[in-house]
């Protein structure tokens, strides 16, 4: 007995806590997992299978909410790095390879910062404002088709829903500015209200021409209408509409030539002046989610959504791994080994100073790259939705790059120019676009079809 008690007494308090926990995880955990897999899993699968609608709902909502996090992190990193290179700086390069984890760490830092409410602020409204701003940004994802069949919900009033939800952002910004009890916040909130409200009109009117052509407001349908090559994209039939949408969407998301709402040289940080900690984090987060959303919308509405620029011949893969039988197992065991040795061979042969184990590690890495590439290539060829997702992401992030580029290049406009431009130029131009499209449709319909 004493043989066991002595080492136990030697442990520190932390060790006394960790050791039983380790025992629980290593011994009890697997047993419970196996039991659950045998007895509970079929029951759960049955319940899930009979409520597929609810399962789909939960999966879709979770996927969207979780997708917004890496999307924002990638955009923040892009903004830091791309603008740095445009300014001939290096940018973040400490955390992760090339500083790629910088934005993740920044996000974690925000999580650990003190979340302070000023004494005079209206605490409840002050807390709800970032929730509102973030929700209205993320809710737009609900109708965005990421690929063929990859959408949370294909609302038949998709476009209307989109602008209705997008327009609600202004309420969040306004109450954020009002509840902070700060002159800068108030001015920032009012500025953003005036700006977002003014650009909402050309934004919504610029896509009417598109609705006229498509005859539907469902984003999924609009995406399908543009299939079959880049000459079918709506940007070629609605160039003016696309341009107006681009400008107005930039203003809606408070991006750089129109970032008067958080003009740091004039009104500190606008409506976000009094915010700190995670509530500020959400205001910040929503801004970058908005950047992705306007890029995704530009892609979906005018640049062919998830369609490849040139139609790719779809190949039916007649792969049936089950038909190989026991050979499949042998293949899975042998192929990685052979390929690893094969890839290691050139390193081992050419680099005479390199020890054998290093060559093997390099070969293993090379094999992994090739394997992942092969799997992704197979998925691209075999699955519609994967190819669609790839093209959607490529196009969207090209637009994100464009917005970052604009931030690195353009100066801020003056507020009188900003407001005048929306009402005196963009609004008449979008109405002109609408009527040109309508007249073109009338003429085409009455001449082509007798």
């Amino acid at each position: 007995m004493s043989a066991l008690t002595r080492p136990w007494n030697n442990l520190t308090l932390v060790g006394k806590v960790i050791l039983p926990l380790l025992f629980l995880v290593l011994v009890v955990g697997p047993i419970v997992t196996v039991l659950a897999a045998v007895y509970v899993a079929p029951l759960v699968v049955d319940i899930l299978a009979s409520n597929l609608g609810i399962v789909r709902f939960v999966v879709a909502i979770t996927a969207i909410l979780l997708f917004s996090i890496p999307a924002a992190f990638i955009i923040i990193y892009m903004e830091l790095k791309v603008i740095a290179y445009m300014n001939t700086r290096v940018g973040p390069n400490r955390v992760g390879p090339g500083g790629s984890l910088h934005s993740v760490v920044a996000g974690l830092k925000v999580l650990l910062k003190e979340d302070f409410t000023p004494t005079s602020a209206d605490a409840i409204v002050f807390t709800w404002a970032p929730v509102f701003v973030f929700l209205t940004a993320v809710m737009t994802f609900l109708v965005l088709p990421f690929g063929p069949g990859l959408y949370a919900q294909d609302l038949n009033i998709g476009l209307l829903y989109l602008f209705a939800v997008g327009g609600m952002t202004v309420v969040g910004l306004l109450i954020a500015g009002w509840s902070s009890f700060n002159k800068y916040s108030l001015l920032g909130g009012l500025r953003s209200a005036a700006q977002v409200v003014s650009y909402e009109i050309p934004l919504t009117l610029s896509v009417v021409g598109l609705i006229l052509l498509a005859g539907t407001m469902s984003l999924n349908q609009i995406a399908e209408n543009q299939s079959g090559g880049f000459w079918n994209w709506y940007v070629f039939r609605q160039p003016l509409g696309a341009l107006i949408f681009f400008i107005a969407a930039t203003a809606e998301a408070n991006r750089t030539p129109f970032d008067l709402t958080e003009a740091d040289s004039e009104i500190v940080a606008g409506f976000a002046t009094e915010y700190s900690g995670m509530r500020f984090g959400f205001l910040f987060f929503a801004e970058y989610v908005n950047v992705f959303i306007i890029s995704g919308l530009l892609t979906t509405l005018f640049f062919g959504a998830w369609n490849a620029p040139v139609p790719f011949p779809h190949i039916e893969l007649s792969l049936d791994p089950g038909s190989l039988g026991i050979m499949l197992l042998i293949l899975l065991a042998v192929v990685p080994l052979i390929l690893t040795l094969l890839f290691a061979l050139p390193f081992w042969l050419t680099q005479s100073r390199m020890p054998g184990w290093q060559a093997l590690i390099l070969g293993f890495l090379a094999f992994n790259v090739v394997a992942v590439g092969a799997v992704l290539g197979l998925a691209y060829v075999g699955f519609d939705w994967f190819a669609g997702l790839v093209w959607f992401m490529i196009k969207s992030f090209l637009f994100v790059f464009l917005f970052v580029w604009m931030r690195g290049t353009l100066p801020r406009v003056r507020i009188d120019h900003l407001m005048g431009f929306a009402w005196k130029w963009l609004l008449p131009a979008s109405l002109l676009n609408l009527f040109i499209t309508a007249i073109a449709i009338v003429v085409l319909k009455s001449t082509v079809i007798p």
Partner: protein
């Protein structure tokens, strides 16, 4: 189309919109609002638990005005232009809702629809021209 198989809608009635689909869509929106709120408050709550908090002195709770104590009412007076733009927005945004529905069925209306929309937008453009003439669109 995504269907939730909880079908208890009047399937016999010839309704132009797929009623079940519409209801599903609304539930998605409502559920998303709920889940999103939960997500945000969960994160804010986690941050509240993780972060350090200190009361500080009285100055900590003051509005931030670049280091100087605030002077006068923080809900300061602001320009009337903001209000006028909001009014204009309401007029034009309601117009947009009508135009959207018109655009949806335009393929069947053609010339008649075009003429009526020209009249409708013409009236609104007259309003815009009036506001322009009055100098509302010029920021002051």
């Amino acid at each position: 189309m995504a269907h939730v198989d909880a079908g208890h809608g009047p399937a016999d009635i010839a309704f132009p919109v797929d009623l079940e689909d519409l209801v599903t869509g609304i539930w998605y929106v409502v559920g998303f609002v709920f889940a999103g709120t939960l997500f945000v408050f969960g994160t804010i709550g986690a941050a509240w638990l993780l972060s350090h908090r200190s009361k500080g002195d009285a100055h900590k709770g003051y509005p931030y005005e670049s280091g100087i104590d605030t002077f006068g009412d923080t809900h300061a007076r602001f320009g009337i232009s903001f209000y006028i733009y909001a009014l204009m927005f309401v007029a034009f945004d309601i117009e947009v809702v009508f135009i959207y529905l018109w655009a949806l069925v335009f393929q069947d209306l053609l010339v008649g629809g075009l003429v009526s929309m020209l009249i409708f937008v013409g009236i609104l453009l007259f309003g815009l021209a009036y506001a322009w003439r009055k100098g509302v669109l010029t920021w002051r």
